[in-house]
């Protein structure tokens, strides 16, 4: 009996030793803390002045739209041959007034330092849309349900031999005054659609939630903008959570270039 006990004791000791050895192992953490990276928001449009907004990220419960602006940065943009220095405006945005700096086909690189981070981002100015037109200058909404709501009433077309990425931005100049369909009560009057690198887009009765005068803008954009729009994190669970894609190195948000063409459209 004595021997047995001795053996059990040994076994237990062995086990405790193993557990302790195991427990002493250095933890390898893969936690990356990128919650203090700056948020960059800049849309470069050819022939327009430049505005770059830089904010802090917000605490989860913060209901402010944007985080506090980060001020006092030295923000510069290079087009490969020239580098310009942006100046801080009163609101904390960084601006550059010369509208000739942005031109088709050039690559623009943003850079500044923040805390210990060298923040940078790169984008290419896409070509301007060509031959943007609508088959009709307006359409009528008269049904809410049924298959006819998905019939193509108007086709938006443009020339796109190189399959450039673009989005269609709909601006309702009348705002939310005239709802076409009450079930979209919470829908915004202005919206945008991905064209999936196509050269046309069909408009149906379902496209519009409000009657009114629209400005339809076809914007040639870069992939980073499509990625931003496609990521949908509004409802997520802890098992499916992921970061929004960004083209900013050591930062989050977007730095992208685009060119647009516009036409008017009436929905009644």
């Amino acid at each position: 009996m004595e021997i047995k006990r001795y053996k059990i004791k040994h076994l237990v000791l062995l086990f405790i030793a193993a557990v302790m050895l195991y427990a002493c192992k250095k933890e390898t953490t893969s936690a990356s803390n990128n919650s203090n990276l700056p948020v960059v928001q800049a849309y470069l449009v050819a022939g327009k002045p430049i505005t770059v907004n830089v904010f802090s990220q917000k605490a989860l419960t913060d209901t402010a739209k944007f985080g506090p602006a980060i001020k006092g940065l030295k923000v510069s943009i290079s087009d490969g041959s020239n580098t310009i220095q942006l100046t801080q405006s009163s609101t904390g945005a960084y601006t550059y007034a010369d509208s000739t700096f942005l031109a088709t086909g050039k690559t623009y690189t943003l850079s500044f330092s923040y805390l210990t981070y060298a923040v940078s981002a790169k984008t290419v100015m896409p070509a301007k849309p060509v031959n943007f037109a609508a088959t009709h200058s307006g359409m009528t909404i008269d049904a809410l349900l049924g298959t006819s709501v998905l019939d193509t009433l108007v086709n938006l077309t443009w020339t796109n031999p190189d399959s450039l990425r673009s989005v269609l931005v709909f601006n309702n100049l009348d705002g939310t005054s005239f709802a076409a369909d009450t079930r979209f009560g919470s829908a915004s009057a202005n919206f945008e659609l991905n064209t999936y690198q196509g050269s046309s887009y069909p408009l149906t009765q379902r496209t519009f939630a409000y009657y009114g005068h629209y400005q339809i803008m076809l914007c040639n954009v870069n992939v980073e903008y499509i990625n931003l729009l496609s990521s949908n994190t509004t409802g997520s669970t802890s098992s499916s959570l992921s970061n929004q894609p960004t083209n900013v190195v050591n930062g989050v948000g977007i730095f992208t270039a685009m060119q647009a063409d516009t036409l008017s459209f009436l929905v009644q």
Binding site: L60, S231, S236, L241
Partner: protein
């Protein structure tokens, strides 16, 4: 000769012949007498008159009086009458002795009694082992045969056969057969033991060894375990101390454990070390850092692809149709392949070949009925059907797994808003059918069918809002999810010679998971004509698996066995995602032929050492490659108490179960085959070792494991409709990575006594590395550092009490740290999270206590005819977090915990008829 053989087949070899003799005396004799005497005198008279051996406690029975006039009643009825009057039971042991019991636990004491006053012996002496009838005439021969249950004729697997005073010992296989070589002489004694049965001893003679033996075992009285044999399996759950990572389960004892709703074989395994117990939403086995899809589930030879019901809360197997279950936690034999982590092998019941048997289990969740019917002399049928009903327990679980506050992921804008509060009609059912036909003594055909299905139907007609009644005639919403399995196999067992036998299977298994969420109806167009419309999504996944396989065993000697076989399978998967009846977003059809073979040697050079080298070869069509899996396991018995064991091997997996996230309607699982492009063939290496220390009463088992994994696939299918009014698009992403898992498991089990149970502790780590989440290893979703389980069972006469307490480190999860918002071109905004490292945070620790009490219902003859039980799940109502949900509102993130089940009681009633 044939007649003699038949006689042998029927009677078999066992002491039980004497029990049958006693039964016969009780049934055949009738008494017509008036008795007025103390009970002990009554028994004395019976013993004397009818040559019975009766054992009882004279002191107590003296005080009981019999005043009874029996008129032409059988002895059995008379005995039952007096026993029933004084709340006594009688029990006939295999040796023919009748015991009169006040409590079932008295049997052990009465059997040991030396007090002659407590016995009423007839002229027939209690049976002892007969002396040899003749001097030994045969030497160094082999015996073979089958061990069966005396009552039902059901073959008994894992019974231990040994030759007294030698080292010769073997264990019956799944079909109850055994062979022993080199028996010293034909006067030896064969000893047979098996859990839940009375031990048997058979004296060999020259005649018996000529033909295969059929050894019939008598069930033991349902009482505490008083027989002590080292290595004997006696509990609800057992580890095979001679093998690394093997768990065995006897479904008959499952009612002693707490259960929620149903006796559950897969849930029971989760109480053992190395099998995670805290995934309430999955009955699948998370074995040693593996995922449920890395666990092969084989039922009567065919693979089951959907192992659970009701959001994973219940396993899909009906314990009434199951004979035994083995779980191989890793390093498994080359007989099995196609999975990276583990194997669960389930064998169906053969059924009762002597008499029909019926039973029913009722609980707050379901009705479960079974029948075991002898069809002809040689064939039996087992039928088991289970169906849930939408009682309070069902609804509680259903709503727990359907609660969500998060919007999104669903089919987008459905019909018009309005009240949609309906309780969906939903249920699950499963059915097992098993037909066994013994064609002759060497051929056995078994046909097994399994079908199980879950249906959730939330379809309804919609009340049309008043502002639409002018233009809309009707709207019907179809909303159902159906998933399930259909599997079948035909098995042909053939015994070619005494030491060569084979099992050949034709198998079929299918799995489907369909979802339909669509709106249809009619509406008036501008001309007033009715136009019908249909919108929504229809999603279908199916899998078909057809195969043949043949498994051969050739037992060369006590020291060498050879197992080999071949297989051929065709698997086909289909995944289809249709929107608005017209646009098919995903349509994937894949099929794969695979084939191969395995060979394995089981070598026992000494009685202490066991070596098992093997190899498995698989040719997998879609990659056109041959995969070689060498395997090896070994054990060494150091002394009476200590056993060392180890296993290693290479494992491949050719298919993956992927989860489609659907926050609103519950995630759906489906299967995809490996291919050359985005889903690689998974690969794993196992290294495991352990030591066990076993005494008559205790078992300590410590095992360690290390596994490397590669070719892991994580799949996401995301529906993106961020663009208002745009057509929905589906993005499929396949992420590939590697991983590892390691850990130590400790089991301390008390095997005998009124109090039994075990303590299980697992220290584990499972980490993955996927390029898409960075260059570092991160904790896998199923990673749990500490898991402590204590299972306590107390036997008090006809009561069984149990308490199970579980504690585990919380599961890892990914959390948002901050949010940020950027404006978009239309003047809107896009708000996003900055998230922590993948799985960098931990949910709160999981713990809960379950308790249960079961009362056995006994016949006067001591046979169990059922039980009544109450189970309390999560007794102290601890809130265990399943996962967290995040939602952005007003640019801020709102976090919600989605919890597992709180306190839930359940009642069960089991009844059996013969």
């Amino acid at each position: 000769m044939k007649k003699l053989l038949l006689l042998l087949m029927i009677i078999g070899f066992s002491l039980g012949g004497f029990a049958q003799q006693t039964q016969k005396i009780l049934k055949k004799n009738s008494i017509s007498k008036f008795y007025t005497c103390p009970l002990d005198k009554f028994l004395d008279t019976l013993a004397l008159d009818y040559h019975l051996n009766i054992v009882f406690e004279r002191d107590s029975l003296q005080k009981m009086d019999v005043v009874e006039h029996f008129f032409n009643e059988t002895l059995k009825d008379a005995l039952e009458k007096v026993c029933s009057d004084y709340n006594l039971h009688y029990w006939i042991e295999a040796n023919g002795i009748i015991y009169i019991l006040q409590n079932t636990d008295d049997l052990a004491r009465l059997k040991k009694t030396k007090n002659a006053g407590d016995m009423a012996a007839g002229t027939v002496k209690p049976v002892q082992l007969p002396d040899p009838v003749a001097p030994p005439s045969h030497f160094k021969f082999s015996i073979s045969g089958r061990v069966v249950d005396q009552g039902s004729g059901e073959p008994l697997p894992s019974a231990t056969i040994s030759i007294r005073n030698t080292n010769l010992t073997t264990i019956t296989r799944g079909d109850g057969n055994f062979i022993l070589f080199n028996i010293p002489s034909d006067t030896c004694v064969v000893e047979v033991t098996n859990s839940g049965y009375q031990p048997e001893k058979i004296r060999l003679d020259a005649k018996k060894i000529q033909e295969p033996m059929v050894i019939e075992m008598f069930t033991a009285l349902n009482t505490l375990n008083e027989v002590t044999i080292t290595g004997k399996k006696s509990g609800v759950m057992n580890t095979d101390t001679k093998k690394v990572g093997v768990l065995e389960l006897n479904p008959a004892s499952l009612d002693k454990l707490p259960n929620i709703g149903e006796k559950d074989i897969l849930r029971a395994f989760q109480l053992m070390p190395g099998v995670a117990a805290t995934n309430e939403s999955s009955s699948g086995a998370y074995v040693r850092g593996g995922t449920p899809d890395q666990n092969l589930v084989v039922f009567d030879g065919f693979t089951i692809y959907q192992v659970d019901h009701l959001y994973g809360f219940f396993s899909a197997f009906n314990s009434n149709a199951v004979k035994d279950v083995q779980l191989y936690k890793g390093g498994f034999s080359s007989q099995f392949g196609g999975r990276l982590s583990s194997v669960t092998e389930i064998n169906g019941k053969d059924g009762n070949k002597n008499e029909a048997n019926y039973g029913v289990d009722l609980s707050l969740l379901s009705v479960n009925a079974f029948a075991e019917i002898p069809v002809t002399d040689n064939s039996t049928l087992v039928l088991a059907v289970r169906r849930s009903y939408q009682g309070p327990l069902y609804n509680k679980i259903f709503s727990q797994f359907n609660t969500s506050t998060v919007q999104g992921g669903g089919p987008g804008r459905g019909g018009p808003g309005g009240p949609e509060q309906t309780t969906p009609a939903s249920h699950f059912y499963d059915a097992d059918l098993r037909y066994t036909n013994r064609l002759d003594k060497n051929d056995l055909i078994t046909w097994s069918v399994y079908n199980g299905q879950d249906n959730t139907d939330n379809s309804r007609a919609l009340d049309i809002p008043s502002f639409l009644t002018s233009s809309v005639n009707s709207i019907n919403i179809t909303d159902y999810t159906k998933y399930g399995n259909l599997g079948s196999s035909v098995k042909w067992f053939k015994k070619w010679t005494d030491n060569i036998y084979s099992n050949t299977y034709i198998t079929y298994s299918s799995f489907f998971n369909d979802r339909n969420r669509s709106t249809s109806g009619t509406t008036d167009d501008s001309n007033g004509d009715a136009v019908s419309f249909e919108q929504g999504i229809v999603e279908k996944n199916s899998l078909n698996d057809v195969g043949v396989k043949s498994e051969w065993n050739w037992e060369l000697s006590n020291k060498l066995k050879f197992a080999y076989g071949g297989f051929l399978t065709r698997q086909a998967t289909n995944y289809n995602y249709v929107q608005n009846d017209t646009s098919t977003l995903v349509n994937q059809r894949e099929s794969a032929f695979s084939g191969g073979g395995y060979a394995e040697l089981l070598i026992d050079p000494t009685t202490k050492l066991h070596l098992q080298p093997g190899v498995r070869e698989t040719w997998y069509g879609p990659t056109g490659k041959l995969y070689t899996e060498p395997r090896f396991s070994a054990s060494y018995v150091l002394n009476d108490h200590f056993t060392l064991k180890a296993a290693t091997g290479q494992f491949y997996q050719f298919m993956n179960q992927v989860t489609q996230e659907d926050i609103l309607n519950g995630n759906r699982n489906f299967w995809l085959l490996s291919n050359k492009t985005d889903i690689p063939v998974g690969s794993a290496q196992h290294y495991m070792g352990g030591v066990s220390y076993e005494t008559d009463k205790f078992l300590v088992d410590v095992e360690g494991y290390y596994k490397t994994l590669s070719g892991l696939t994580e799949y996401t299918l995301r529906q993106s409709n961020a663009f208002q009014g745009a057509a929905t698009t589906i993005t499929q992403d396949f992420y590939n990575g590697t991983g590892y898992a390691k850990g130590i498991e400790v089991l301390l089990q008390k095997k005998l006594g009124n109090y039994t149970g075990w303590i299980s502790y697992t220290l584990g780590q499972a980490e993955d590395k996927f390029a898409v989440f960075g260059n570092n290893y991160f904790p896998a979703d199923q990673d749990v550092t500490h898991e402590f389980k204590t299972i306590n069972m107390y036997h008090y006469y006809r009561w069984n009490f149990s308490a199970v307490w579980l504690f585990s480190t919380g599961h890892p999860y990914t959390a948002p740290l901050t949010t940020y918002t950027v404006s978009t071109l239309d003047g809107g905004t896009s708000t996003a999270y900055t998230v922590s490292g993948k799985n960098a945070l931990r949910l709160p620790d999981y713990h809960r206590l379950d308790i249960s009490a079961t009362y056995d219902l006994l016949k006067i003859s001591g046979n169990k005819i059922g039980s009544i039980g109450i189970s309390l799940f999560n007794v102290y109502n601890h809130t265990n977090v399943w996962y967290k949900e995040y939602q952005i509102q007003n640019y801020a993130a709102i976090a919600t915990n989605v919890d597992y089940l709180g306190f839930t009681p359940n009642l069960t009633l089991s009844l059996r008829w013969k």
